[in-house]
């Protein structure tokens, strides 16, 4: 062993001891008379000190030495245990931790000498009783002390353990006599019996455990996964054989494999207490720094979880605890005023339920003020007033999981910087968990986290659809339903075109897996409908499948990078016959089928992939109109801004017109259109701000109340506020801004915007992966009277084309070239679509190729609206493409 190896050993051991040490020190605070605990702390510090001396870490040695002095004085009864001393010892462990991490990184001490801490430590060990008011006598009964010494000499051998346990059972009398008032925080575990405490401090028994590299365990786990697959294969094969010997052996193999799988999984399991151990210290420190009294109760620390999951919940859990201490539990005075005990209680509970682990974090604090949360969401522009009005209290409470949310009126150093709860939620969702919060004002808040036990091997239901096998994770499975196709019995009915089924009096939306995945129909329709009822989040839906096979333990394998973007699949697995089957992602399926409502509480992270919100860098014109305080319209479609005096506006044929550049300009009053009444503001002002839109030779003016600003920003536009004339909303400069749907407004107004040359009803297919830029172009096209079909990828486009042949395909957006390649290939194969004209909108002029070999391709600049409209009209008039173009910005293939 060279030096580095010794140091590594030292680090591993010390780090392990340290995490136990903190827990023990905090425990000691509530059981100051527990000599065994004190002994264990002393030993840990002592062995760190010893190793430091040996390895030449001088500063660390001197700090641990001083801490050891104090502990030794406590042991001999020379000194009494006080909160101050506990804090000092904890501070020393912080110093040790600090140094250890420095040694880990640089193999050297940090150079910090801890002069101040050392002085205080030595002062404390010299001083007699430090503070009378905090004084608590620590007496150690003779028997216990003897046992402790004995335990120390015998290291941690098993017989000594047994003796230790018997020793503590004799301790209770002394415990009963002495209680220590600790002002800052009282930390107790619910089961305060001596046995439990003994179990806690029974350190690892060196002889019966070995340290194994996690990577190695992972490897074993993978191999077991393979074995499970091989076992499945053999079992499938043996069912077709008559050999009794083979059958018996296969059964044995089956049993052994299952057991092996279980045991290897167990080897990776750790009690959740591993994470919880650190919490008493966190709570104690927080409580003292906020001047609160908090008792932490922990129940179910022995609940076991897969190591990878333990790692993943560590940070979210700590964050929630910090939040509870900081925001949840009130100051003692406040609590007394409300008639509660001055000491707040924070309860942690963990338990297994239905193959999942539930973790509950509950405080008995003030609860969440629903109105404040709503107000905050509004202030921060996270939601608009209408959405907020619709929220139930429970939904409103869960708003705290939105990004950019923090309810603390005062931002403290502990929490409330606006980061956190959303990260907590994303992290938990990442490992397939769910987090939910409920709160009763005045009585406290409960946060429930549900996480899977393990991620590697899951039970799944095998189903078949369109001739392919799929796996549905058992966790999202609720019921299986079989409908015989005879009238009278329960049948599928339609509500607004959506099939539903009356399931115990409640309507259940139904979708067909074959439809969602575009699978081929498998022969004749059978007389029986097989429906799998699935749960996604809180919502249920029915999935029609061709047939239902059986359930199996499956090994989840990730999909390759090329397929990661496919939402309906969570992964793949290998079946008994060696074939590959896809694992369905129930949430993804539901979203694709539109049977799972997109809850407004989804995080932004989720929204990235969904269609109800989109993002784009755009310059917007902001204006005000009647009840709509902020409305935006993309500046790219605005021709001019004008102001007309009220007098110059005339009525003609029931509509407003104005003379404008030797022409008659149609005017539309926006507030009249959207609100049904002209705004009050209008009467007071002589000049009317007008936004002029033009297309080819036609113009229309939109009367608004006030032009506010021009703003360029990358925005997330949510389609949720959609209604006539408004296409969605977003937050600009901290204010909620609505987005004008110009096409709809002009249609509402019934202006003379009718196109000069009525385009045919054959649609234009718009292919763009970005929803927003698609929406923009759609706007132009519809303004010009072209029906528009939208597609977001080539597959989508192909389906749309198959359904209805468009007159042309317009390609836009960043992925244009990629989509283009795919599209040309697809079109070449598609009958009737080989010569469909393609119009490509480029971001910049220089992207337009000098020469394009495909005759049916037209390249234009992105904002060349007139060019686009003209090209389409030309396409309709002649099948050939015009070669002379007046717009210099566009090149047309010869």
């Amino acid at each position: 062993m060279d030096d580095q190896e010794i140091i590594n050993e030292f680090l591993i051991e010390s780090n392990e001891n340290l995490s136990r040490l903190e827990q023990e020190i905090v425990d000691l605070e509530k059981h100051p008379d527990d000599a065994l605990l004190l002994g264990s702390i002393f030993r840990t510090i002592h062995s760190i000190k010893g190793a430091c001396g040996f390895l030449g870490f001088g500063n660390l040695e001197s700090v641990t030495h001083l801490a050891e002095n104090i502990l030794s004085q406590l042991r001999t009864g020379e000194k009494q245990l006080t909160a101050e001393l506990i804090s000092l010892v904890l501070e020393s462990t912080d110093a040790i931790k600090n140094e250890l991490s420095s040694i880990e990184k640089t193999s050297q001490e940090s150079g910090e000498t801890y002069e101040d801490l050392r002085q205080r430590l030595s002062a404390a060990s010299v001083k007699g009783t430090s503070d009378g008011s905090l004084a608590a006598t620590v007496e150690i009964t003779e028997t216990v002390r003897l046992e402790a010494v004995e335990a120390e000499t015998k290291a941690a051998s098993a017989p000594a353990q047994a003796q230790l346990q018997s020793a503590t059972t004799t301790a209770p009398p002394s415990e009963a006599i002495m209680s220590v008032p600790v002002q800052e925080a009282l930390l107790t575990s619910p089961g305060e019996d001596a046995d439990k405490i003994t179990a806690n401090k029974a350190g690892p028994i060196a002889d019966s455990t070995i340290r194994v590299d996690v990577g190695h365990l992972d490897k074993v786990m993978n191999l077991v996964g393979e074995l499970v697959l091989a076992r499945n294969q053999i079992l499938q094969y043996t069912t077709q054989q008559d050999d009794p010997m083979l059958n018996a052996t296969a059964q044995r193999l089956n049993l052994i494999t299952s057991q092996l799988q279980e045991d290897v999984m167990k080897a990776r399991m750790q009690p959740i207490g591993v994470v919880w151990n650190k919490l008493p210290r966190v709570v104690r420190d927080l409580a003292s720094s906020c001047g609160k009294q908090i008792r932490l109760e922990m129940d179910g620390a022995e609940t076991e979880l897969d190591k990878s999951i333990i790692e993943a919940i560590k940070d979210p859990l700590t964050h929630i605890i910090r939040n509870c201490c900081d925001h949840g539990i009130e100051a003692p005075a406040e609590r007394t005023r409300r008639g509660k005990a001055a000491t707040g209680t924070l309860t942690l509970r963990a338990y297994h339920e239905g193959g999942k682990v539930n973790i509950e974090i509950a405080d008995d604090g003030g609860g969440i003020d629903v109105n404040r949360v709503k107000r905050k969401a509004l202030d921060r522009g996270l939601m608009n007033p209408e959405q907020i009005a619709k929220l139930s209290d429970r939904e409103a409470v869960n708003l705290v999981f939105l990004p950019g949310f923090s309810t603390a009126e005062q931002v403290t150093s502990i929490s409330g910087r606006g980061v956190g709860m959303d990260v907590v939620k994303t992290n938990i969702e990442k490992i397939g968990g769910v987090v939910d919060m409920s709160s009763t004002t005045g009585h406290g808040t409960t946060i429930k986290i549900k996480i899977p036990l393990t991620l590697a091997i899951i039970p799944g239901l095998i189903i078949e659809s369109g001739g392919e096998q799929f796996v549905i994770p058992q966790a999202s499975l609720r019921e299986l339903l079989r409908l015989e196709n005879n009238p009278g019995s329960g049948q599928i009915e339609m509500v607004y075109g959506t099939p539903v089924y009356r399931r115990r009096g409640k309507l259940l939306p139904i979708v067909s897996l074959r439809d969602i995945l575009k699978l081929p129909a498998s022969g004749e329709d059978s007389e029986v409908l097989n429906i799998v009822i699935l749960q996604s989040d809180e919502q249920l839906f029915g999935l029609i499948v061709d047939s239902i096979r059986d359930t199996q333990e499956i090994v989840v394998k990730p999909l390759g990078n090329q397929l990661k973007g496919l939402r309906p699949f969570a992964g793949a697995t290998i079946m008994g016959d060696g074939s590959v089957a896809l694992i369905l992602d129930v949430v993804g399926l539901g979203q694709i089928a539109n049977v799972v409502a997109d809850s407004p509480l989804k995080t932004r992270h989720d929204a990235d992939e969904r269609e109800d919100a989109y993002e784009d860098q755009q310059t917007y014109l902001l204006f005000r109109s009647g009840a709509h305080a902020r409305v935006a319209v993309p500046i790219s479609i605005v021709a001019r801004l004008e102001e007309f005096s009220r007098k110059s506006v005339q009525q003609s044929n029931g509509s407003l017109v104005v003379q404008y550049r030797d022409e008659i300009l149609d005017l539309v009053c926006l507030s009249e259109l959207l609100d049904g009444q002209p705004s009050v503001h209008e009467e007071q002002n002589d000049s009317l701000p007008v936004i002029v839109f033009s297309e080819a030779n036609r113009h229309v003016g939109l009367i608004v109340d006030q032009i506010l600003d021009i703003h360029s920003e990358t925005l997330r536009i949510s389609k949720e506020g959609r209604r006539a004339g408004i296409s969605g909303h977003a937050v600009i400069d901290g204010e909620i801004t609505e987005f004008l749907d110009l096409a709809a407004v002009l249609q509402l107004a019934g202006t003379a915007w009718a196109p000069h040359l009525a385009p045919s009803k054959q649609p234009v297919l718009l292919l763009d992966d970005n929803g927003f830029s698609r929406g923009l172009v759609r706007n132009y096209l519809e303004l010009a009277g072209h029906p528009v079909l939208e597609a977001q990828d080539t597959n989508d486009a192909l389906q749309k084309i198959a359904r209805k042949l468009p007159k042309a395909i317009v390609l836009t957006g960043k992925l244009r070239s990629q989509l283009h390649a795919g599209l040309t290939r697809i079109l070449a194969e598609q009958k009737g679509a080989e010569s469909l004209p393609l119009i490509l909108l480029c971001e910049r002029k220089d992207e337009i190729p000098e020469y394009s070999e495909a005759a049916s391709e037209i390249w234009l600049e992105r904002f060349d609206r007139d060019g686009l409209i003209r090209s389409l009209l030309h396409l309709e008039k002649t099948t050939s493409v015009p070669t002379d173009r007046d717009a210099g910005s566009s090149k047309v293939a010869a």
Partner: protein
């Protein structure tokens, strides 16, 4: 010890492998990929289709318990697809994120190509496929197109 042997082995591979190619045919075109990237070659593997995946993705195959994405090189290279009756050959290649299978028409020999026979694709060739082709080796009697594997496998679902 390990420090000393490293540069040597790197040198070895430079001499022996840098110009060594595994070759294959797609629609009559002759392609090469660096031999070190090839893990194995399989004949007509069983493939599970992935609904909604891009057409370039033929499906998933089971490679001794590992799930491998199979890419149809005919579609990737924009050549006519089909030719029924001919079972494709799978070349399993290593990439930064696991192995991927390329489905090709026919497998060729492993060749040592002289470096001076290499040429980048002419600028004037502005084929869509040219971005996944690194260059050309002018060999006796035929041209070998060198596939840029990483770019060829940049397929977004």
């Amino acid at each position: 010890m390990s420090e000393r042997s490293q540069p040597l082995s790197a040198c070895d591979s430079k001499l022996a492998d840098i110009n060594r190619y595994s070759t294959f045919y797609v629609d009559g075109h002759f392609f090469g990929i660096a031999v070190l990237r090839v893990q194995e070659v399989l004949r007509s593997p069983e493939i599970t289709r992935v609904p909604l995946a891009p057409p370039v993705i033929e499906g998933l195959m089971n490679l001794r318990g590992q799930i491998v994405t199979a890419v149809d090189m005919r579609r990737r290279l924009n050549v006519p697809t089909g030719q029924l009756g001919q079972a494709p050959i799978s070349i399993v290649v290593r990439t930064n994120d696991g192995v991927v299978s390329l489905l090709v028409d026919e497998i060729g020999d492993v060749l040592d190509a002289p470096a001076d026979a290499f040429e980048r694709l002419p600028e004037s060739l502005t084929l869509e496929e040219s971005e996944i082709i690194e260059g050309v080796y002018k060999l006796d009697g035929k041209l070998m197109l060198v596939l840029d594997l990483d770019r060829a496998l940049e397929i977004a679902a």
